[in-house]
């Protein structure tokens, strides 16, 4: 009986392995590269969340535009650096694994952020649905700051923000650096909702935000005495025009770069942030896969139905940036060590660099 039982157990285990590994799939030589295949998209999100919603709209249209109509599935690594490390060093270069990473991927690579084990050249870029921004600086009521001049004269402005290195923190610091603000302070540790409350309670004085996000969430502040002394254009040169209801007469930060050094730092800032989010693949995927992905993504970005669907699901206007645009902007980034050193200080926690 023991022998029979042992035989049965072996049979069960063998069957289990056979079922687990599953049948392979054959592929015709002349078929599109992605026919009958599954693409795995590694997203820097938790399942759920607004970032996940945006990515799912893109992948839905990517599937439509990729010849061969591949299956697309999602995998999540909710950590910027871990996801980029995995994409650059771990996944196979077979064109079947893509990534959707945040704009921090660029600066982390350039400045060698702690834990990052990749370079910008480790990726092929396919662009993103959002260029990011344009941005604004908003000041709470009661401080009497309604112009850039008054802002520059004010001492000890308290910016509310999330953490050192966050996109909005860097924007705060770029504005403080460019405008030579007097003794600005950063109150960090809030999440985005808490920043709104902190501004309304008077716990903080100023906040950077993207104009579309401001118009979606806190547009009513415009009627409640909050002031917007200036905006900051995005990489595509767009400003207040992205939101028709937004005051169109606000000056832009680039108008206040009164030295060549400030101009160079601002140029550097823009050039290492070519998109809000970006789809990438590890460098070295098969050429047919790269070509198919480039074309398909570019078709997604220009598809009017994509724009409608993206807007319907996320209530945001897509402002796509192509892979070619991302690569071009990155290539043109200034390489001046003095500028890079100043920028490194701006994105860090210490005092701001001298603007002269």
């Amino acid at each position: 009986m023991k022998v029979i039982e042992g035989f049965r157990k072996s049979l069960v285990l063998t069957g289990f392995f056979a079922l687990s590994i599953g049948p392979g799939s054959a592929q015709a030589a002349d078929a599109p590269f992605y026919q009958g295949k599954t693409i795995n998209v590694i997203a820097v999100d938790q399942p759920g969340g607004t970032g996940d919603l945006r990515t799912r709209v893109v992948t839905q249209f990517l599937q439509k535009h990729l010849p061969g109509n591949p299956n697309i599935v999602m995998q999540y690594i909710p950590n910027d650096i871990l996801a980029a490390n995995t994409l650059a060093n771990v996944v196979k270069r077979d064109g079947l694994t893509l990534g959707r990473v945040n704009s921090s991927v660029y600066a982390n690579a350039i400045f060698g952020a702690e834990g990052s084990r990749y370079k910008l050249a480790d990726f092929s870029y396919f662009g993103g649905a959002e260029a990011g921004g344009p941005y604004l600086l908003i000041i709470r009521p009661g401080l009497g700051i309604d112009s850039v001049e008054k802002l520059k004269a004010y001492k000890g402005l308290r910016f509310a923000n999330r953490n050192v290195g966050h996109t909005m923190y860097i924007l705060d610091r770029m504005m403080a650096f460019t405008l030579d603000l007097k003794e600005p302070k950063w109150i960090l540790g809030y999440n985005s909702q808490e920043i709104r409350l902190a501004m309304e309670r008077g716990e903080a004085d100023a906040q950077s935000n993207s104009i579309p996000s401001f118009m979606r969430g806190t547009q009513h502040w415009l009627k409640e005495g909050f002031s917007i002394p200036l905006i900051m254009k995005n990489i595509k040169g767009r400003g207040a025009d992205v939101a028709p209801g937004f005051p169109q007469d606000r000056p832009s930060l680039d108008q206040f770069t009164d030295t060549e050094f400030k101009k160079a730092v601002l140029r550097f800032h823009n050039s290492i942030r070519p998109s809000g989010t970006v789809f990438v693949a590890p460098k070295g995927i098969p050429e047919p896969a790269f070509k198919a992905l480039r074309e398909a993504f570019n078709k997604v970005w220009s598809d009017p139905q994509f724009a409608t669907e993206f807007n319907r699901i996320t209530k945001e206007e897509p402002d796509p940036v192509t892979g070619e645009e991302v690569e071009r902007v990155l290539e043109q980034a200034p390489k001046d060590p003095k500028v890079m050193e100043a920028y490194k200080q701006i994105i860090g926690a210490g005092p701001l660099p001298s603007s002269r």
């Binding site: 299956n71 709104r196 902190a198 926690a349």
Partner: protein, 666 residues
């Protein structure tokens, strides 16, 4: 406003809305019993692209009903399996699981669902009535006030530590230290990021720690006693209605904890994960005789966290709808759905779509009632799970734990951490180290540091002079003093006995665990010494140095015999340990070792082969070899596990699990 309330109700008089609510209730029930990783946010993300094309009220109905029922039914996992049922339902384990093991699962579930229904209704009425006062209330609480509130939460360590205050404080300090892992937002300093590994940069996942600390000892208890094989399971006692009656009898506790839940829901920044612990601590502090019965299967320890957890939804929606502030991922997605349907949560929605807000109120209330009835309906058959033999239950529980752990960061280190913390959970339980203070420290450490920093950075030290801060501080210190004083009353009965037991120097195995904590605190001090003052203030001066001193004191008490440990029955808030009584020490040791070998083996199999192969393989082998189950049953269990992991996640939801190391190498 009355017209809007009536119109809100009339909006529900549509067949599709009713159908959507029913679907939401069904999905919510499923997400409540599904392992972590398949929660409400995932369902929201999958549903929103579809439902935003529907009639708005029907779309809202499915989302709200799903969330409400998911919270109400979340008690199944802690009561029946001894594992956390997601955020807001962790503290239920402390008394719910001992009740389940004692054969009182039906009573515990009955109490939980009745508490959930009442809590949900209180949350709903508060949502309906609080429209005019919500904003002033929220504005009243700035970071200084929130700091004191978090401090109050932390003083509950004194309650959760019971008669082992020093061990409780050491556990809490360890939890606080874990909460400081990762990048400090204020300075950008990477604290305790071991080997520069990005896994630790965003902090340490609480879900992994909670699953391991509570789930592993629960599974081990079953494996030790071989329940259902060597030891007969306790017969099912009591009825659902007994639990419901308990709940009605404790109506004042329900009301208090519900309002606590509503308040936590309303105030941005406290977080849903704390609500059950705060309510549990409040109950342990105020209920008569709690010192003796809490942690050993007191139904009030189930009623308090469950009523607060379900009432929280009302408060959460209040802030979401009236102010447009989401409190978590689910409400952030709910706002995204509302925006997609043309509603702008906040003042705009109050002015233009008050009837829709009231529809949400009605849906929440109705879902609370129907969800509880569904819970009652399922409770009787599900309560029988408590009688299933260990050879089936252990692989199922470990499946939930490993799947839940891997869902946290989807990294192989999640597996390593769940094994390490599973071991720690075992030793903490074995050597009378209370585990709840560790969780509380981990939950609140981050918030404590954040609000202290923000208060000081914004206001200097002037924040200490704010009247609201002074009032809250007096209440907090008064509450702590009351707790300590009430515990001192009995100390005189215990102290002479402990002194009498002094027999000179001695060494107990528990001291090894204290030495481990001591080593961790020393390491924390050495690593953090070079950081800036702001970066090291909390982990070093507030946590590690006091933790180090406490560990030394504890070691002294251990070796001088001034505190007996281990074998002594403690009165701390801990889970019942009586199931393994009478087991031969050698057998217990062998089985414990075997259990951890299986558990670690499962984690290694998942790492090497991926979860879709590794976990079913473990289930198959465990039930065949260790459980000596029939081959067809083992195969059925493994196939069920595979169908769940691959079929539901990968095939249906298109969510891929991380690949196994071997497949990445090939």
């Amino acid at each position: 406003m009355f017209d809007a309330a009536i119109q809100g109700l009339l909006n529900l008089g549509n067949f599709y809305v009713i159908l959507a609510m029913a679907a939401g209730i069904a999905i919510g029930t499923f997400t409540a019993v599904a392992p972590q990783g398949l929660g409400t946010p995932v369902m929201y993300a999958l549903l929103i692209p579809v439902i935003v094309r529907w009639d708005p009220i029907a779309a809202i109905a499915i989302l709200i009903a799903m969330d409400a029922v998911s919270s109400i039914c979340a008690a199944y996992l802690p009561i029946l399996f001894g594992i956390p049922g997601g955020a807001g339902s962790q503290a239920t384990i402390l008394d719910g699981y001992p009740m389940g093991r004692r054969g009182e699962a039906r009573r515990a579930l009955g109490a939980s669902f009745m508490a959930g229904m009442l809590g949900s209704l209180i949350g709903t009425f508060t949502l309906a009535l609080a429209v005019p006062v919500a904003k002033p209330l929220i504005m009243l609480l700035g970071s200084p006030e929130l700091f004191v509130v978090v401090l109050w939460g932390l003083t509950m360590v004194a309650l959760l530590a019971g008669r082992k205050p020093i061990r409780g404080l050491i556990a809490a300090a360890f939890g606080l230290l874990i909460s400081s892992i990762g990048m400090q937002p204020q300075t950008g300093v990477m604290r305790y990021v071991f080997f520069d590994n990005p896994y630790f940069m965003d902090g340490f996942p609480l879900s992994v720690v909670a699953l391991a600390l509570f789930g592993i000892p629960a599974a081990l208890d079953m494996a030790l006693t071989k329940i259902g094989v060597e030891q007969e399971p306790v017969p099912l006692l009591g009825k659902l209605w007994d639990g419901a009656k308990d709940c009605l009898r404790e109506w004042w506790l329900v009301v208090r904890c519900s309002f606590l839940g509503v308040w936590v829901g309303i105030v941005p920044g406290i977080g849903a994960q704390t609500v059950d612990w705060l309510a549990y601590g409040h109950a342990a502090q105020t209920c008569k005789g709690a010192k003796e019965t809490f942690g050993k299967g007191d139904v009030r320890g189930v009623i308090a966290p469950e009523s607060a957890n379900d009432a929280k939804d009302g408060g959460d929606l209040l802030t979401t709808l009236l102010l447009g502030f989401p409190q978590g991922v689910s409400t952030a997605l709910f706002i995204a759905a509302l925006l997609a349907m043309g509603f702008v949560p906040g003042p705009d929605m109050v002015n233009k779509n008050l009837d829709v807000i009231f529809s949400v109120v009605w849906i929440l209330g109705l879902s609370g009632i129907v969800g509880s009835l569904v819970g009652f309906g399922l409770a009787n058959p599900l309560a029988k799970i408590a009688q299933v033999r260990y050879s089936i239950m252990v692989p199922v529980i470990l499946t939930f734990i490993l799947m839940g752990a891997l869902s946290a960061d989807r990294d192989a280190l999640d597996l390593l951490m769940v094994v390490l913390f599973g071991g720690l959970g075992y030793f903490m339980k074995r050597f009378s180290y209370p585990r709840p203070p560790l969780i509380l420290g981990m939950l609140l450490g981050d918030l404590l540091e954040k609000y202290l920093y923000i208060s000081t950075a914004s206001y200097g030290i002037k924040w200490l002079a704010r009247p609201s801060v002074i009032v809250l501080l007096v209440l907090t210190l008064g509450s702590l003093a009351w707790t300590l004083w009430s515990r001192r009353e009995k100390k005189s009965d215990v102290e002479p006995k402990a002194v009498a037991e002094k027999t000179g120097w001695r060494f107990e195995p528990a001291t090894l665990l204290t030495l481990l904590f001591l080593a961790v605190f020393v390491y924390a001090v050495l690593i953090g010494w070079e950081w800036t003052f702001v970066a090291k203030l909390m982990p070093l001066y507030v946590v590690a140095v006091p933790g180090l001193i406490l560990a030394l004191v504890q070691i002294y008490r251990d070796v001088t015999g001034s505190e007996s440990s281990g074998k002594e029955r403690t009165e701390q808030v801990e889970m019942e340990e009586s199931f393994r009584e009478g087991l031969d020490k050698r057998v217990a040791f062998r089985r414990t070792l075997g259990f951890f070998a299986w558990f670690a083996g499962a984690a290694v199999a998942i790492w090497l082969l991926g979860i879709t192969i590794g976990l079913p393989l473990f289930v198959l082998l465990y039930s065949l070899i260790e459980g000596r189950e029939k081959w067809w049953l083992a195969l059925l269990l493994a196939a069920g596990c595979y169908a769940f992991l691959w079929g539901l996640f990968e095939a249906f939801f298109k969510v891929i699990w991380p690949s196994g190391f071997l497949f990445l190498m090939m």
